[in-house]
């Protein structure tokens, strides 16, 4: 049997076993070893160790534990909730103000979790109760929480982009710069939609009652300075150092982590248990992502050595379709894969398979990466298969699933509009990296 055919079999075996529910990393290592040995013998053993050690030495990936640690510290110390409360009080007089503060916090804190499940859960815990209390519309609330939670995955600092960089062979800084404008654009589209709906129909998000708002402007200002300014400054300076080229992305992440440690001290929230819980959770989230990176790098190495990706891409290219048709086929496949899977296996296993083809078609890789990110986010918002609905249901059990679905559907439509904009106007992605880093 030809190596390419062995690779094809390996892919079929992977798809079959991935749905059995066994941890993917272990399956990948086993399949890689088995099919690799069959295809090219002993070399596969060296490949396993080489890929493992290369991942351990990949300093860019150290951003994963650092950003997760930063986010966890801020969240566990109650600083994220405080931010939520401050924005809520400031905007209290406005119809739908909670939607706005929810979007704001989601945009700032995406890095707190790194994976969709955690991000939506976190936002749900924080926002759902307040929205219920203020008699907000359930569908709209569910929509904005799931949309915000999934958007956080895309907006820098984003763990997903950190992992994507080495996979695509482009600097993480380019991806950060590329994701910034589409991310902010999507957040603005969501917020505008929610506010316009509330303006037309105030019962969707009634303004807070007088006694729930802050009494005096002075007290409000103090609360604003104490609750919001330090965190915003921290996040912006960490990202700013990266964008300005003062620090590498990993150093920027370390600065962010150090800053949040200092903030917890300044706010007198630092305790032994808080620190212990944060480092333990950081370890757990980092390992779950990074051990899969090791396994996927190995699997991908075996797969490309067998030569199967070339065969697949030649076959698709041989059809001589319009390159945008092929792009849409790829995007549709990613969309479907994102229903059952987290972004980690998709980015690590599927993307390397199609990457050579995309390069050959002459698409810009940074643009392609952001397109994938936005596409993944759309998939996470598509009921009834997307998991976000169930994550939210888990923390807001009082909301009927049918309402959560209907809410997500509205934002999925907005998301498709955003996706179309990114495809039609690549400049939305490419303008900022171009200005910052090249020529």
């Amino acid at each position: 049997m030809s190596p390419e055919a062995i690779g094809g079999l390996m892919l079929v075996a992977l798809i079959a076993t991935i749905f059995v529910g066994f941890p993917i990393a272990f399956t990948l290592i086993f399949l890689g070893l088995g099919f690799g040995y069959w295809g090219f013998g002993d070399t596969v053993f060296h490949l396993l160790l080489f890929q493992t050690f290369a991942t351990m030495k990949e300093q860019t990936l150290a951003q994963v534990p650092l950003f997760v640690f930063m986010g966890l510290l801020l969240e566990r110390a109650g600083l994220m909730e405080r931010l939520f409360l401050v924005t809520q009080k400031m905007l209290g007089g406005l119809n739908g103000s909670l939607y706005l503060s929810c979007m704001f916090v989601a945009t700032l804190f995406g890095a707190a979790s790194g994976i969709v499940g955690a991000s939506v859960t976190l936002l749900g815990i924080m926002a759902a109760k307040g929205m219920d209390k203020s008699k907000y519309d359930v569908q709209m609330s569910a929509g904005i929480i799931t949309a915000g939670g999934t958007l956080g995955i895309l907006i820098p600092p984003s763990v997903m982009l950190v992992v994507m960089g080495p996979v695509m062979g482009i600097p993480v800084t380019d991806l950060y710069a590329g994701a910034l404008i589409p991310g902010v654009m999507l957040a603005a589209i969501y917020a505008t939609y929610a506010l316009v709906r509330c303006y037309l129909n105030p019962s969707l998000g009634p303004a807070l009652r007088k006694f729930e708002r802050m009494e005096s402007m002075g007290a409000l200002f103090v609360e604003f300075v104490k609750g919001m300014v330090p965190i915003t400054v921290l996040l912006l300076s960490s990202l700013g150092a990266i964008f300005a080229g003062v620090a590498t992305p990993t150093e920027g992440a370390a600065l962010g982590a150090l800053g949040s440690l200092l903030l917890t001290v300044v706010y007198r929230k630092i305790t032994g248990p808080l620190l212990y819980n944060s480092v333990m959770k950081t370890l757990e989230v980092s390992c779950m992502i990074l051990f899969l990176v090791v396994a996927s790098n190995f699997f991908g190495g075996v797969f490309s050595r067998l030569g199967t990706p070339d065969v697949i891409s030649q076959a698709l290219l041989g059809l001589e379709l319009n390159r945008y048709v092929i792009l849409i086929i790829i995007m549709a496949a990613i969309f479907l894969l994102a229903w059952p899977l987290e972004w980690v296996p998709i980015v690590l296993i599927f993307v390397p398979i199609v990457l050579p083809m995309v390069k050959q078609l002459g698409f810009d890789i940074t643009w392609f990466a952001i397109l994938i990110a936005v596409n993944l986010q759309t998939a996470w918002l598509s009921p009834p298969v997307a998991l976000s609905a169930y994550f939210l249901k888990g923390v807001a059990p009082q909301w009927p699933l049918s309402d959560i679905y209907k809410g997500m559907m509205q934002f999925m439509v907005l998301q498709i509009i955003g996706l179309a904009l990114v495809i039609i106007f690549p400049q939305i992605v490419l303008w900022l990296p171009g200005v910052l880093y090249t020529r």
């Binding site: 059995v20 529910g21 941890p23 399956t27 070893l33 650092l66 992440a253 950081t282 370890l283 757990e284």
Partner: protein, 202 residues
């Protein structure tokens, strides 16, 4: 069905404790990672770059996530596609998991361990140095992290396999909180042959 899972649960708890502690130790590596890298930026701004920060940062990072894999398995956090799995009865889940541990996990990880210890041993004997920077620190301790991590992971895999046996026998998963005493107390009524095997209340 009569069950006597006391020894099984004791063994599971023993291994769980080892993994738990490996995690507790590895997790703290994130703190020096933060300080080493922050120090580097500070010193570079006011003086000149350190010669050691780069090497130290990837060493801390590499050791952090590799040593934490056993703990992550113990916590049940390795990414799995469980939208089908969730809907199955416990005994089916346990059988499928047990099958996967026997035929995927153990063969793969035993080979990995055997390769990794050889890899680390060769490096250790040669007292290999890192070629990433002018500092050239010893690299063999970091290479030794691989076999240690995989050995811990393999050990936790044994515990997970035993948890499958427990779940298959009892019709429910062993919860993290239940102590050996509780499990033993639960088993007392099972000495009565008429008692249902899976009728235990939590």
């Amino acid at each position: 069905m009569r069950t006597n899972s006391g020894a099984l649960v004791r063994a599971i708890r023993g291994i769980d404790t080892v993994s738990d502690w490996s995690g507790r130790i590895a997790a703290w590596l994130v703190i020096p990672l933060v300080f080493v890298m922050s120090w580097e930026i500070l010193v570079r701004k006011v003086h000149q770059p350190t010669y050691w920060a780069f090497d130290l940062s990837y060493m801390l990072f590499g050791a952090l996530f590799m040593l934490g894999t056993a703990y992550t398995l113990y916590r049940g956090s390795h990414i799995r596609t469980d939208f089908l799995y969730q809907t199955w009865p416990v005994k089916v889940q346990a059988s499928v998991d047990a099958f996967c541990y026997l035929f995927f996990f153990f063969p793969g990880m035993v080979i990995f361990l055997w390769l990794a210890q050889d890899y680390a041993l060769v490096s250790w004997q040669r007292q290999e140095l890192s070629m990433q920077s002018s500092w050239m620190p010893p690299i063999y301790p970091l290479k030794a992290v691989i076999p240690v991590s995989i050995a811990l992971l393999l050990l936790q895999g044994v515990a997970e396999f035993m948890k499958c046996i427990y779940a298959f026998r009892h019709g429910e998963w062993l919860t993290k909180q239940r102590s050996i005493e509780e499990v033993l107390a639960d088993e007392m009524p099972l000495e009565d042959p008429g008692a249902p095997a899976n009728g235990q209340a939590r």
